[in-house]
């Protein structure tokens, strides 16, 4: 493949939206209330729609018989390069929201910069997506504040969720060799530069939510290299089942 680095770079963005979209989709019909159920599945739909745009572009670069579907459904676990954060289980609503919040703040900062990418396709997708992500960020931030500054029970759960998920935040700012190649060409976003604003924004919301900002400096990584937590296999078996069982099936 001629544009291997660009292809890898796109997957590095789109695997995050794919897996988080899949996770949120699990709540369809299972959300804690009708409104939150609808919200989570609407956000899921936005994320999967964005994923389609990225994968359609990636499929063109890959050529051969690649389509958005083969990229989404027919890779093995080690070939997915999403960050560990997005594959974490929903557990309870506080964890669902905590994961969403910690991703949304990053996602918004990323798209803000990606709008200025020298690659016109990526820039167009970013312009489109950021409008949707500003709604996501608002929704998850609001819920972090409501749960954190709510009852004793909701506060404890929200704090536990933030403490559990904190270890996955540092990986958002790691780069791969393909990322670095794309940054050098003005196509990719240097996520290392987003780190300070990220923690400032996250901390500001946690303050408003009257939650403690975790002090732990121990972080977990691996997703960007294809090394995932034990949860990933379960997601893929769910997500890939139909295409593996009935190859090339369509609706």
């Amino acid at each position: 493949m001629k544009n291997k680095d660009l292809y890898n770079y796109i997957l590095g963005i789109a695997d995050n939206t794919l897996i988080l979209g899949q996770r949120l989709g699990e709540l369809c019909g299972h959300g804690p209330s009708l409104e939150t159920d609808i919200a989570c599945t609407n956000i899921s739909l936005d994320l999967l729609g964005q994923t389609r745009s990225y994968f359609q572009y990636a499929a063109k670069l890959k050529g051969e018989d690649a389509t958005e579907d083969t990229i989404a459904f027919l890779r093995t676990e080690r070939q997915y390069v999403n960050v560990l954060l997005v594959e974490q289980p929903n557990i309870d609503f506080a964890h669902t929201i905590g994961k969403q919040f910690l991703f949304d703040v990053y996602h918004y900062l990323l798209l803000e910069k990606l709008q200025h990418s020298k690659d016109v396709n990526l820039s167009a997708i970013a312009h489109k997506s950021i409008k949707e992500v500003s709604y996501h960020q608002r929704f998850s931030s609001d819920w972090v504040k409501r749960l954190g500054d709510g009852t004793d029970e909701s506060k404890t759960r929200m704090q536990d969720a933030i403490n559990d998920l904190w270890r996955y935040t540092d990986e958002l700012f790691h780069t791969t060799a393909s990322d670095e190649a794309m940054i050098a060409q003005g196509i990719g976003v240097d996520v290392k530069e987003l780190k300070t604003s990220y923690y400032e924004r996250v901390s500001a919301i946690l303050d408003l939510a009257k939650l403690d900002i975790p002090e732990s400096k121990w972080f977990q990584e691996g997703g960007k290299k294809g090394i995932h937590t034990e949860h990933m296999g379960y997601i893929l078996s769910d997500m890939q089942y139909m295409q593996r069982t009935y190859p090339n099936m369509t609706w």
Partner: protein, 167 residues
């Protein structure tokens, strides 16, 4: 009907495309919705460019098929291309489109600042499409589709959808 700048739709194709509606809001033509960015005709072959309202909008595939079908019925072959840039905004909904939304029972989008006011700060600015009162409140930021929020009128008590501002 007028369309905003940057949109090029061949005159001959106008009445055909005007009859294609948004499958989730059947009273609204795709032209009034602002999703058709260009439609050009060359030797009975039509090239249409459409842009999605929201990335994951499931209506887009249906709209593409409906456009092809409508053109086919008039003897044209066609291709429909999905473009992302410039990104769709609720500003592209025409005045006629806004009226159609309200007649259908969906409150039309407010400007960006007012939109934030109603969605984030509980301001009562959205006009109830049933009774016209502004004494309305948000029930849920997300509604039956990604583009809408759920509201309720505190005068006539009717629930209704509000089409969120997207800029």
């Amino acid at each position: 009907m007028t369309v905003e700048q940057g949109v090029h739709i061949d005159e001959v194709l106008f009445p055909i495309l005007e009859k294609v509606s948004d499958p989730e809001i059947p009273v609204l033509s795709i032209l009034e919705m602002g999703v058709v960015r260009s439609a050009t005709l060359k030797d009975d072959h039509v090239h249409v460019k459409i842009t999605p309202t929201y990335s994951g909008c499931p209506a887009m595939d249906v709209i593409g098929d409906d456009i092809k079908k409508a053109l086919d019925e008039q003897g044209y072959t066609s291709e429909v291309e999905l473009i992302l840039s410039p990104a769709w905004t609720t500003d592209w909904i025409t005045a006629k489109g806004r009226k159609a939304l309200e007649d259908y029972g969906i409150a039309a989008p407010l400007g960006a600042e007012a939109d934030k006011g109603v969605l984030l700060h509980g301001k009562r600015l959205v006009k109830c499409p049933q009774c016209g009162s502004h004494n309305t409140r948000m029930v849920s930021q997300f509604g039956s589709t990604a583009c809408k929020a759920q509201f309720q009128c505190d005068d006539c008590q009717e629930p209704f959808d509000y089409f969120k501002c997207l800029k």
